[in-house]
Subunit: 199 residues, 2 copies
């Protein structure tokens, strides 16, 4: 026997498919939505469909954008000779929020993961290599994550770029700012030691 109305049950099931939303959160969300004004729910539904159908990949950097060229790639204020390679648009946004990076980006939409069956051809590497051959690029900063997949991808990209002679760098791994050493895992501590700089 179903405890809820079939409409609500369907909604709970749909919401529970979303990442990070378990059965209880899905029920809480569903009841919250049912109690909203009809126009609020309709607006959310429209926004969902519009976002999905309206978004495209930037012709240059492959980030998700509304136009053929994203605002960063079309900006003349940015240094187009420096490309930071990131795994996804959220990582791009994270670096943009620092307000300290003036170059452009390249969004891979993933990382190489033999465990998940994601190979080099499944991420936007071909597009990166095309940019490097067509544009005048001075440096590629590899800013994939400090995870196994991120490191594997970084290694792969650096090998791929080496023959072109373009300078390749990797963002630093280490103790996060404000991080208390005793709470930091050993691998990070070791990385921080390895990456030490003269003062």
């Amino acid at each position: 026997m179903e405890y809820y109305s079939s409409h609500i049950q369907n909604l709970i099931e749909e919401l529970a498919r979303l990442p990070g939303i378990g059965a209880k959160s899905a029920a809480r969300l569903a009841f919250h939505l049912i109690n909203q004004p009809e126009e609020t729910v309709r607006r959310l539904a429209d926004t969902l469909v519009e976002a999905r159908s309206g978004v495209r990949f930037c012709r240059e950097c492959c980030t998700l954008t509304d136009e053929e060229l994203c605002p960063i790639c079309s900006s003349t204020a940015r240094d187009h000779q420096t490309i930071m390679v990131v795994e996804n648009s959220r990582d791009l946004a994270a670096y943009e929020r620092t307000g300290r990076y003036g170059g452009v980006y390249h969004v891979l939409h993933g990382a190489i993961s033999p465990a998940l069956g994601i190979g080099p051809s499944d991420i936007r590497l071909k597009e990166l290599m095309r940019r490097l051959s067509e544009e005048d690029v001075k440096e590629v900063i590899i800013a994939t994550g400090s995870t196994l997949e991120g490191e594997t991808t970084a290694m792969y990209i650096s090998k791929l770029i080496r023959p072109t002679g373009i300078l390749t760098s990797r963002i630093a791994s280490g103790v996060p700012v404000g991080g208390d050493l005793e709470y930091i895992d050993e691998v990070t501590l070791y990385r921080a030691l390895e990456g030490r700089r003269a003062l």
Copy 2:
């Protein structure tokens, strides 16, 4: 400057309005949805709108349902002389999952909370009193939460029902099954002591 496509930004903002979803979860959800097939996103949107417009309150118990009368109120297998009063449809579902309650319900859709400005007329109390006067009810089990609001509501309802002479009971407060005493708060421990039963 916006870091994301305006479509994505709008979606993130809409999602971040939902309870329990912060800015970071909203961004993660938005990118997840953008990466889903268009029909998946459309199905979620349709389910949302259908649930909101298709759901109504049961004529008897006020729970959210698809029909005029919910499956529990229309079942002849249930004891219609025993009414359990709960705060919302999720609490009803929680008791249904126990599989040990054979009566019917009354859903208040809230609890009295002077702090939040929710008074007795803002919850479905009038509907409960109408049922008690029109139907042949033997017992009202008050199963509102063990919170300040739940207790206030329970007290209010029991006073309201007293003149009718109908038996009113309150579900027990105490140590949860499997609960280790040392981790239980003092109020609960005191309640468990107060509510002790002879063996």
